[in-house]
Symmetry: C2
Subunit: 239 residues, 2 copies
């Protein structure tokens, strides 16, 4: 019969799956042993090789499940009529989907880990990240059509950075500020959206480039002399 349809048939398969997801998310592909997984699942050591071919395939399956679940949760259409509204919508939807307490938290952890450190299991950037960043890019382009690509890219990565951070490095934030209450997801989403919009609006129409003519300054002024652009900054910083 089918894999999951047997009356209890794959109860262990499912428990195995869950345990694997958790431990893989916590310790990574190489840091996890099959003994750890089977022990947490209360199953025999050979069960992994029976239900999945081998360890790596189990990892791939777990990743694929997390990926699919996350994809359907974040690819719903945006209904707001203003670009600002759609940006808020997208940020809020993404964060609530990622931090939804109903979702096993190993899913996002596993995805983040795979993003930070890709294995040959599955290419996430193409399927998960690129579409999202493209949507983000388009919305931001609507809000600020005048900005050069690079500035827009920096603004978009700002959102991605916060996303990854609050999902993957949440424990870090807690340890950095132990005595501050962690915000609920809605507050967090609002803050990220507010910050992003404020930053986007605040960017100057003529972005601070070293010189328009010089060929794409790979390593332009660098760290030494912060002298010249100071004046403009002072003006912007003034309340």
């Amino acid at each position: 019969m089918n894999e999951t349809s047997n009356v209890n048939g794959s109860a262990t398969r499912e428990k195995l799956f869950e345990a694997a997801g958790e431990i893989f998310a916590e310790k990574g592909l190489h840091g996890t042993t099959i003994r750890d997984i089977t022990q947490r699942a209360g199953a025999n050591i050979a069960s992994v090789n029976y239900h999945f071919q081998d360890k790596f395939n189990l990892y791939t399956e777990a990743l694929r499940r997390a990926h699919g679940s996350m994809l359907t949760a974040t690819s719903m259409p945006l209904t707001a009529d203003t670009p600002e509204g759609r940006l808020r919508e997208m940020i809020s939807a993404g964060l609530t989907a990622a931090l939804d307490p109903a979702r096993p938290k190993w899913q996002v952890q596993l995805l983040s880990r795979e993003l930070a450190q890709p294995t040959p299991a599955l290419d996430l950037t193409d399927d998960l990240m690129r579409p999202a960043s493209q949507r983000l890019w388009n919305i931001m382009r609507e809000i600020r059509p005048d900005l050069p690509d690079q500035q827009l890219m920096l603004a978009a990565t700002g959102v991605a950075a916060r996303f990854v951070f609050h999902v993957y490095h949440a424990h870090l934030a807690r340890r950095m500020f132990p005595d501050v209450d962690v915000p609920d997801t809605q507050t967090l989403a609002e803050h990220v959206a507010d910050s992003t919009l404020a930053a986007l609006r605040g960017l100057p129409a003529t972005p601070a480039r070293t010189r328009p003519g010089s060929a794409a300054g790979k390593r332009a002024s660098a760290k030494k002399g912060p002298g010249r652009t100071r004046q403009r900054r002072k003006e912007r910083d003034a309340k």
Copy 2:
């Protein structure tokens, strides 16, 4: 006849060290084998156990070196006279230190990896992250003394998020936007500082809470009905 130092510091020890840093940063503690390291270093397999006690100790040593180097580079005093200036200074100093091409890039990668996924080797949050985030917090408190702690914390984590992202997930940004030139460090630092300041200034004096009384809306309006809080947001979004 040795280069680095004759009696004590064999050249292999240093080459071993370098190779270990690179591979550890790339594949993690568990994903790295001693054979990989010694092979890249052009040394014998036993050399790791000779020069360092064992694999884990080598990992700890590499981490400690990266940590020390990074610490001295980021703990210089801030000289600007305005809090805005000090914020810019701090962001710029941190990013240039982390992305300095003179610094072996395995150092920051290893540190980031250890932050995301601590091993028993060294506690980085206490020695590296907490002081930095405390400085950041104090500066931001100067700029916006009226904000509640949580909002300030969110703003600070915004900086940390970008920091981690541009250091650790740089490859992700490149893959998300393949056809946009990566900015040089100075441009990046300016963007982060600008965004942070704009976001900080843009935060409302009374931060947007769902309702003062209701117990921390875990899954409040969520993605479905963006109805009620819309009004206030519309006002802020309006140009």
